[in-house]
Symmetry: D2
Subunit: 158 residues, 4 copies
């Protein structure tokens, strides 16, 4: 997708620490065995090993589409978070995901990218790859919208 | 959403058994604590109690958006499955979901409905409610596309 | 879709006049021959006759999918507008649309509904019907997100 | 977005002629003043000058979101068409689009790309740019699904 300029200065100098701290608190990521990969300004990777507990049963060894959506959503949310002002987070307003190929491999990597980061609206995209023996295959693409909000204020969805 | 006619005859007379059998095999549903609710021709509910392990940390007691997408996707898939010919299943090609309100409550219920069921394309929708003390609040809406395929043949995504 | 309560009081008592005024200024609606149907609080219809100029060529007499998306987007936008505070409009942040059946008929009617109207986020849905000799057939479903903004201020997309 | 390999051989050697022929028959493209840009295997551009008739009235000189969706949908459809076997076309099953920035400029260019082309499912993406004095600004991103079908057979949506 459109390459985000990574030369600009972050609004939050400790965006890496913020991503790590908030990711560690996300129980659902722990539940599915997900961990963080690369973290850059505007870009975050989420990795999940292809264990039996996240498989769909439709076809042998396919990761469940809902799990793919879940790491795509999270990767987009954390990519948006790297761009946020201190004290702000982004709440997912919506996302959509297309499955491209069977999600078979050793692990999945969801690569989230902030496409646009504004005061009232953040747009992010994600590409999800299945990795087998070091080879990457694109298995899904996602687009989503985040609404910036203060960590101590109510969600825009209340 | 558009009310599906439930008076037509099912193509697979044992669609309820099929849904129960395949749901029981889905490890990711077990992982998040999900269970089946109502199963009718063209309509399937998936319920998940709002335990700590599926919470987002953005705001207190909110269910993670990825979990909401996961049960929405599954409810649409199983609703499509009730309409399928014997020996056929639907593979998720894509879905999209809008968050409407904070997912706070005792449990979530994803109500999946088959909007159109054809030989090359199935369209399904889902409404996801948070239930608190018996009151239902709409928290998300989803739309998705399934591609029918034989259970013994390859996925269209291979 | 979820029935919007129409018993509440409008924030803008002249929401019907506002919809008519703004619709009349939309050149693209004139271009495709669209007109307004019913206007209620949270609900707006847009109608377009199935003339040759809006046909796709893939199959005889099918309306182009882009035209269907265009009236769906507008119907959702105007449904959101009926709920807005005086001086506010909603800017489309995103929408998605599923084609359900061939769009063949005398005219298309896009029925837009506000699902949720908040200060930072409006969610709307649309059902698009083809009408032939008075019979309605569902041909598409859409979901979208609007960002409320002041008419005299900049767009959130600037 | 994911770069499509353009080194592979086309299934239809005259894919450029096919795109030109079918585009010329699309009345809605003529209606909005659209024309074809680059045509490569897996990639098609659609251009539209920013005339008054395609403007939204929400903000001065913004192109209507429905028009942006229309050229995005078409660019994805034609990108898919370049990959199709002779005698086959793709029918849009669904698409979704995120607005990134205000669509202001001399012209818009929708760049459609085939992400995956299979016998039962094609996935395409589009990036839409506003061009002003030769400068390109990303204004929207889209993802869509096409169902391959024979030109002489019925649509999968019938």
């Amino acid at each position: 997708m459109t390459t985000h300029s990574r030369q600009q200065l972050p609004k939050n100098p400790d965006y890496v620490g913020l991503v790590r701290e908030r990711f560690a608190q996300q129980k659902p990521m722990e539940l599915i065995g997900a961990s963080l990969g690369k973290i850059e300004l505007g870009y975050v990777e989420i990795r999940v090993p292809c264990t039996e507990s996240i498989m769909s049963i439709s076809f042998v060894n396919y990761v469940h589409g809902g799990i793919i959506g879940m790491i795509a959503d999270s990767a987009m949310g954390f990519a948006g978070l790297t761009m946020a002002e201190p004290g702000m987070v982004g709440v997912t307003a919506e996302y959509k995901i297309n499955m491209i190929a069977a999600a078979v491999g050793d692990e999945l990597v969801a690569c989230g990218q902030s496409v646009r980061s504004g005061s009232r609206l953040t747009v992010a995209s994600a590409e999800i790859f299945a990795v087998s023996n070091g080879d990457r295959k694109l298995v899904a693409m996602a687009l989503g919208t985040l609404i910036p909000t203060g960590v101590r204020t109510d969600s825009p969805l209340v």
